[in-house]
């Protein structure tokens, strides 16, 4: 009887430890806002999406972010949004853009504070992977992570060609801004 008890308690203890540890390491984005702008000599184009989804695993400092391209709104006309999806992003073929990887700095995201970090991972847009190190500002307060980041995406890095006819209206350098809150899952 004593041997059986030991085994049972040991099993429960292991279950208890691992379950307890796993419960608090995932944070998911609740208000994921991502926007971009193209600042070309003859035209300024702005669009944004409130459907940025993301998860950060604070035990391993890994992250995974995704956004549906069809969720971007704004633009200068409905036709321009149609062209964005049909001709440039080919949204039916590549419905999402994603960024997955690991935070370089060794942080303890369970403690309150602010930090400037570098996120290293694969940025996938229009079906093309690009390894990037993107800087972000993380603020942790009361178990809520606020993430802000500004970075540049080159259309040429993701196989999105700009036709000569519109080269003064569409910039190759797209400025992206991410503003999201993550909460424990």
């Amino acid at each position: 009887m004593k041997r059986e008890k030991i085994i049972l308690y040991l099993a429960l203890a292991i279950t208890g430890f691992t379950a307890f540890k796993a419960a608090s390491t995932l944070f998911h984005a609740t208000e994921g806002k991502i926007s971009f702008r193209s600042d070309a000599p003859l035209e300024l184009i702005k669009a944004s999406s409130n459907s940025l989804a993301g998860i950060i695993d604070t035990s391993k400092n890994t992250f995974s972010f995704k956004v549906a391209i069809s969720s971007f709104e704004g633009f200068n006309s409905r036709t321009q949004r149609e062209h964005f999806n049909e001709n440039y992003m080919q949204t039916e073929k590549y419905p999402d853009a994603s960024f997955k990887g690991k935070i370089i700095e060794d942080l303890d995201l369970s403690k309150d504070g602010t930090a400037s970090v570098r996120a290293k991972g694969i940025l996938n847009i229009h079906g093309v992977d690009n390894e990037r190190i993107i800087k972000a500002d993380l603020t942790v307060k009361n178990k809520v992570i606020t993430l802000r980041s500004n970075f540049v995406v080159l259309l040429s890095d993701h196989n999105i060609p700009i036709p000569k006819v519109v080269y003064q209206k569409l910039a190759n350098e797209i400025k992206v801004e991410v503003n999201t809150t993550l909460q424990p899952r």
């Binding site: 059986e4 049972l8 429960l12 430890f17 995932l26 459907s51 049909e86 080919q90």
Partner: protein, 311 residues
């Protein structure tokens, strides 16, 4: 004895706990995103513009957008080299399409052929959609009115002698059309257009005034910005005009390319039709593909944002 089931229980518990270490956050994220997808997505851009070749496509001009259209039809290729294969004889239509709401559009135009003014309204009744509230097809209704002012052309076509005075109603005709369309894939769309053309005056007393036809049209995308289009209207026997000004009338058949760049859509095509509006091209096409009565033509469409921008 009790050791075996207890060990099994122990293994079960620990094995249930262990996989937590190999969390696949990508999979968890995908699951989360799929759960959020409870919306309905409208299918967009079934065709590149509001016309396939001559006839209407299921597409409407968006709210607040003004679409300036210029259409040219040259003479027939069998006119030979002297007429530069028809290039010397051109007819033209200038038109303006405007989106009143996202479902209702209005258009006006004037054709040099028969000096005809036209106006139409097109309303989107059903829109193809994927998702929760799925709809397999798009359905639109189009109503148009035509006012031809070139009386000598009308007299010639409708056998009205010069002595007889022509009333305003003699110059009017109407078209009503249902457009049923489906975007089958990113590259392929098709539509069917049952059409009624009512002409107040017809060439012979034996001709009906209500002319029925069924149109079929489609497009196949070749590249991101180029597509090949085709359009055919079958005039229903017994409900069509047979002859006009001594020429036998045929069903209109047209083939073309759509090229889209920025705010323009260029459509280049070959057709046996002379006119560019429903009464002219559906019910009064004297040309025959077999005889080489093929016209080269093009449409240019330029969109402008007039109304207030969204958000």
């Amino acid at each position: 004895m009790r050791l075996i089931p207890l060990t099994l229980l122990a293994i079960l518990l620990t094995s249930a706990a262990l996989p937590q270490d190999t969390l696949d956050i990508d999979k968890i994220l995908d699951e989360e995103m799929n759960q959020k997808k409870d919306k309905t997505e409208l299918v967009e851009a079934t065709f590149k513009t509001s016309r396939i070749i001559h006839g209407h496509s299921i597409e409407n001009t968006a709210k607040g957008i003004l679409d300036f259209k210029i259409s040219h039809r040259f003479g027939t290729l069998n006119n030979g080299f002297y007429q530069l294969f028809g290039l010397d004889n051109a007819t033209m239509r200038m038109g303006l399409d405007y989106g009143i709401t996202n479902r209702l559009m209005i258009g006006w135009g004037r054709s040099t052929y028969q000096k005809q003014y036209d106006g139409f309204l097109k309303y989107r009744i059903l829109r193809q959609a994927n998702g929760v509230k799925a709809m397999p097809i798009s359905l639109s209704f189009m109503a148009a009115m035509f006012f031809a002012t070139d009386t000598s052309s009308l007299r010639n076509n409708y056998n009205i002698p010069t002595g007889v005075k022509m009333n305003t109603s003699d110059k009017l005709s109407y078209a009503y059309q249902l457009i049923i369309a489906r975007k089958f894939s990113t590259d392929f769309s098709m539509q069917i257009m049952p059409t009624l053309v009512h002409s107040n005056v017809v060439p012979y007393s034996t001709d009906p005034n209500d002319l029925f036809s069924i149109g079929i049209g489609g497009r196949l995308k070749l590249t991101k910005r180029v597509s090949i289009n085709a359009e055919y209207y079958y005039n229903i026997p017994g409900r069509k005009l047979e002859k006009m000004a001594g020429e036998e009338l045929h069903n209109p058949l047209s083939f073309g390319f759509d090229i889209e760049t920025g705010g323009h859509v260029f459509q280049l095509h070959f057709t046996n039709s002379r006119g560019m509006t429903e009464r002219q091209f559906i019910t009064e096409t004297p040309g025959s593909w077999g005889k080489g009565d093929i016209h080269f033509g093009f449409n240019v469409s330029r969109v402008f944002q007039i109304g207030k921008r969204k958000s």
